[in-house]
Symmetry: C2
Subunit: 647 residues, 2 copies
């Protein structure tokens, strides 16, 4: 079976113009801001020399973080009244640009501004913000984000650290009751941190009010641990050599009452607890709100790192020759079909994720601006988790592929790829373990499921079953009119034409999503009928199904974002290339799930093989423009830090 | 649809006995030898401390290599007449045991004994072996294997280094004509090597006789580069910090005539070239014979490293709890369905690869012992390439999965996994890039294809087309009678019963292999009809198809080896567990290719979903025995080098 793919447009090619057009489209509304930052940041700040030992790496990273301050980077996303500039969304966009350079610097900056600063910003009162945020921004106060404990990685609700109110002295006592309760993997803990935002159970007069956050000084001006503070150093990790991760244990440490970040949970001098949020579950999820921004940021930085890896690998492949043709001509490795099959679909994914990230940043800003209800907030959390997991999984797989695509060169540190793979590795685990996040996304798709679990009896659940699946999350997230039109056009196309019909792609991804989630909803309904003692195992048997649901949902959301991105790009060469990249993204995603479609006879064998052939053809066609497509990813040459990628 | 899987046998479980039984089965005929070595080697030699800088790592590795000598390790696989012990196959088995420890040591040992020593052993004459092999074994002569050049990674036939005979002084001049011709990534070059086996074009009286190998001294006793030798240091790499990889360039370096390893290409004093092998192509492939042993060794060591990673991850998962059941019971993460789906199929693959590696070692020994014809040699090369690619691909993917499965712990260097992933990474590239090897395997499957390319005209090709696919490589490799019986039994089973019928698994893998290779053969026939100028692109379009053919062939060969392994294991608990592991391996492999089967309606949707359910069920059942299954992999506790894996 042959497929019909439009030939490459005959318009004269101008690589620079195409690259600029693609970059502007991919940056979207953040284009000017990002482009300014790319120009303003210098290699001295962004590029860490190869082969440093751990002490030198940490020192370099701390110094670079200070240099960043001079560029105004650290004030982005902070409120104007406290000396900040730009919006929250811009702070994520800035983090993406930072992520095209050294990832130790990126993560250290994220710990300081996004996590430590974010905790004060989101959970603190006005006085606390005024007290600490200026020092957060100018780095007078380097801080830690003390959430994770050794014994409880993902299970934040079970934190063991205690924050106990002592009315007699109007202080809180912060305490680590067991070895397992030590705060672990904490950035800035091993060397630089002077304060920590510490999460623990707030206990007032014997009552546990759940997880709250308090600011605790941990080092004196000379850098020594304060009394009662026990600091450990994790030493060497898989990567991120420049980030001083460590452990913190608190031995009956007393801090003033005014250090409790009390926006959502206040303790008065006489020991009366009050909160503007009645419901404990809701209070907990609000306390964790810093995680949402962290997840969006980490997903974006993981994607940036991958863009850098792809840029290095493509540049190498366009220079490197291996073997000759039967007529004796040397062959650039980018010409080999298998090399195209490795690199080109990931370039398409890079664009897809970029557009999806833009949509997510907009949703984040909207929620932060008070637009959208509680449901919108929950959806934001669901999509932040889903896109973080998708992008960081992709980062790990793709960076490893890029490393291998550069052969022996790829393994030499001077070419930049091994540090990238090592640094980005942990993105799959921190800010939410990807596997756990996939379950979180699935739960988000099942509306009212959490409520059903604890509150409703079986009959009530069954009665509410029609609403078990969240219809709102199944709705189009963006570009509604455009997509409806595309679907309608596709329905009138011949079977042959459908392969490249965008509406057909949408229909396929939508169908898979709905079927998987509906089936999951039905299984969940059965689980809820069970006795509590049987629920765990029955629920456990659904984990794989939940992961599938999460993936199917995100696949569709990402495709919609790509369509939205194209619809906002004006006619021209860049748009034409984006359409092909979207074809490749959509068909690759469909083909990755071909087993599912074929099992259900959604399409037949010949059609499936036609999709595979269309993918091969698109890879070959897009290779013609691969330099511009790669440049469009927005990674400045000065940040590549790779000998083989030099022009 | 439900599947019928036999319940776990009710026999009393004895973990130690089961582990011992599994280990003995997996070690096969090398059990006693491997077990002896595991006991003899100590942690001081095998376990490299975490967090070393590059100088310390190199020093540790060199010292450990010397300590190895004291254990007799270095003499294994060398001929008795030169002071060696055991067989070639045993040297590969020994390398596998070494690979359960530090990989820098493993690779440095491989460079010294397998590559440098192997070149002298395989390509040298008796006098040369006597002259150098004792020094290779006792480490008086540390040597390099100078094959790869910067500009030509996989394309060894195009090496640029010249070895030119100078009859006036009865010397050879070794020369590096361009920067790209520098020998690159050479182990022992940066620091320790005193000699190098250098591959280059042999030129005698103006005639290029193709690639030959010559021994060149490169450093004096003080460790300084000799005149005309330019040594470079690659410095930091992705991993293998203890291996001193570097570059070597030769500037008109003269060496005595007696240094040419001349078993397959001799130059007499007066400058007459002679070779026992007439055909140039055959001579080239013989010259590359060290690569076969290297590939088998590297594949095995990659598998060993993965066994260590799996052992660490499983031990952690059996200790670590996260979250609680609805009734408040803490849950070990090994109990989670998704954790089982990650780890258990890879344990099954670890066994599958182990049995396949045993078969390959036996074939290697048989060919070395002079059993088997030229076709058997070619088949050995094909299977060595295929299993190296399969095992090292698996190593990279699985070690990364293990790292992630240990969450934050997994990222801390002290837990062993990040060094493993970083070290094993390059296994995908060295000793033959995996992508290139996949093409080599496919070419091996197309009999006479190489010959057709250069010698036959189109008509002749078409006439020979019936033999285009190598029927011999499609034959059963092992356990013929057993497998024929299983296939015959399966054909009489009901549709429902087939899912766990081994004969059905074999039939499915065989069918896929034959169809893919036959279709490839037909495409190749068309390629051969084309004009030379069109052949490259047409051939290029087959690369993906060739990779599929290679994978399909190896999948079937590996399954057959597993069946052979089971057939050699006596009845009992270990055998029962092996059967289940083989079920899981076979069904996972089939399901990974479900798209292919469904596209061709080999089975239908419900059957495909039945297979997926059977996999889930097998994962859960095998989890009951997971400690013993992991112990059976043969990684000694003393070599784990992982805090979280401590008992």
């Amino acid at each position: 079976m042959t497929t019909t793919i439009n030939p490459t447009p005959a318009a004269p090619r101008d690589r620079a113009a195409l690259a600029a057009g693609l970059r502007a489209a991919l940056d979207g509304e953040f284009h000017e801001f990002k482009q300014g930052l790319r120009e303003r940041l210098d290699a001295e700040t962004m590029v860490r020399p190869v082969g440093q030992d751990i002490d030198t790496a940490r020192e370099w990273t701390t110094n670079s973080l200070r240099r960043l301050t001079e560029t105004g980077y650290n004030t982005v996303g902070m409120p104007e009244e406290f000396g900040g500039t730009e919006s929250f969304a811009h702070s994520i966009a800035a983090f993406e640009v930072l992520g095209t350079g050294d990832l130790s610097l990126t993560i250290k900056s994220g710990v300081q501004s996004g996590l430590f600063g974010g905790a004060i910003l989101n959970l603190g009162n006005d006085e606390q913000r005024r007290r600490w945020l200026p020092g957060v921004m100018n780095l007078d106060i380097l801080g830690c984000y003390g959430m994770t404990e050794l014994g409880r990685g993902s299970d934040v609700q079970s934190l063991e650290t205690t924050i106990t109110y002592l009315p007699e002295t109007e202080e809180f006592e912060v305490h680590t009751p067991t070895d397992d309760a030590r705060k672990a993997y904490i950035g800035n803990a091993a060397k630089d941190g002077h304060m920590a935002a510490v999460f623990g159970k707030l206990i007032v007069d014997g009552t546990d009010h759940g997880v709250h956050c308090i600011v605790v000084p941990i080092r004196d001006d000379e850098g020594n641990a304060l009394e009662g503070i026990e600091l450990g150093d994790h030493g060497h990790k898989g990567g991120l050599l420049g980030v001083d991760n460590g452990t913190i244990a608190f031995h009956h440490v007393r801090v003033p009452r005014e250090n409790l970040l009390d926006r959502y949970g206040h303790v008065s001098a006489d020991g009366t607890y009050s909160s503007p949020i009645e419901r404990r579950g809701k209070r907990f999820s609000t306390m964790l709100s810093t995680l949402v921004r962290g997840r969006i940021s980490v997903g974006g930085a993981g994607a940036s790192a991958t863009r850098r890896g792809l840029t290095i690998a493509v540049r190498h492949a366009l220079k490197r020759t291996q073997f000759t043709t039967p007529t004796g001509e040397p062959v650039h490795i980018m010409r080999y079909q298998l090399h195209q099959r490795k690199l080109v679909p990931e370039l398409a994914r890079a664009y897809a994720f970029g557009f999806a990230q833009n949509e997510l940043m907009k949703s984040f800003q909207a929620v932060a601006d008070g637009e959208g209800d509680e449901t919108a907030q929950r959806e934001l959390g669901t999509h932040a988790a889903g896109l973080k997991a998708a992008q960081t999984r992709w980062a790990n797989d793709t960076l490893q592929m890029c490393r291998e695509a550069c052969g022996g060169y790829g393994y030499m540190a001077e070419n930049g790829l091994t540090t990238l793979t090592a640094d980005a590795d942990v993105f799959a685990t921190f800010e939410g373990d990807n596997t756990v996040l996939s379950q979180l996304v699935a739960r988000g798709l099942l509306s009212g499921f959490q409520a059903s679990w604890s509150n409703l009896d079986m009959l009530e659940t069954v009665r509410r079953s029609a609403a078990l699946v969240s219809n709102r999350l199944l709705e189009r997230t963006t570009a509604k009119a455009t997509i409806d039109r595309l679907v309608s056009i596709a329905s009138r196309k011949s079977s042959e034409e459908k392969i490249l019909a965008r509406g057909w792609h949408v229909e396929l991804l939508e169908y898979r999503e709905k079927r998987i989630i509906e089936a999951l909803g039905m299984r969940m309904r059965e689980v809820l009928k069970l006795d509590k003692s049987e629920q765990f195992e029955a629920m456990n048997q659904c984990q794989n199904h939940m992961a599938d649901a999460a993936a199917a949902h995100m696949d569709r959301v990402i495709l919609e974002a790509f369509i939205e991105g194209i619809s906002e790009t004006e006619e021209g060469h860049a748009r034409e290339v984006l359409i092909k990249l979207c074809d490749l993204y959509a068909l690759s995603t469909i083909h990755d799930n071909a087993t599912w479609y074929l099992e259900r006879s959604v399409y037949d064998g010949p059609r499936s093989r036609g999709i595979a052939q269309a993918i091969e053809k698109l890879c070959a066609e897009l290779t013609d423009d691969i330099e511009a497509i790669t440049d469009g990813l927005g990674v400045e040459e000065k940040f590549l830090n790779s000998v083989i990628a030099q022009a």
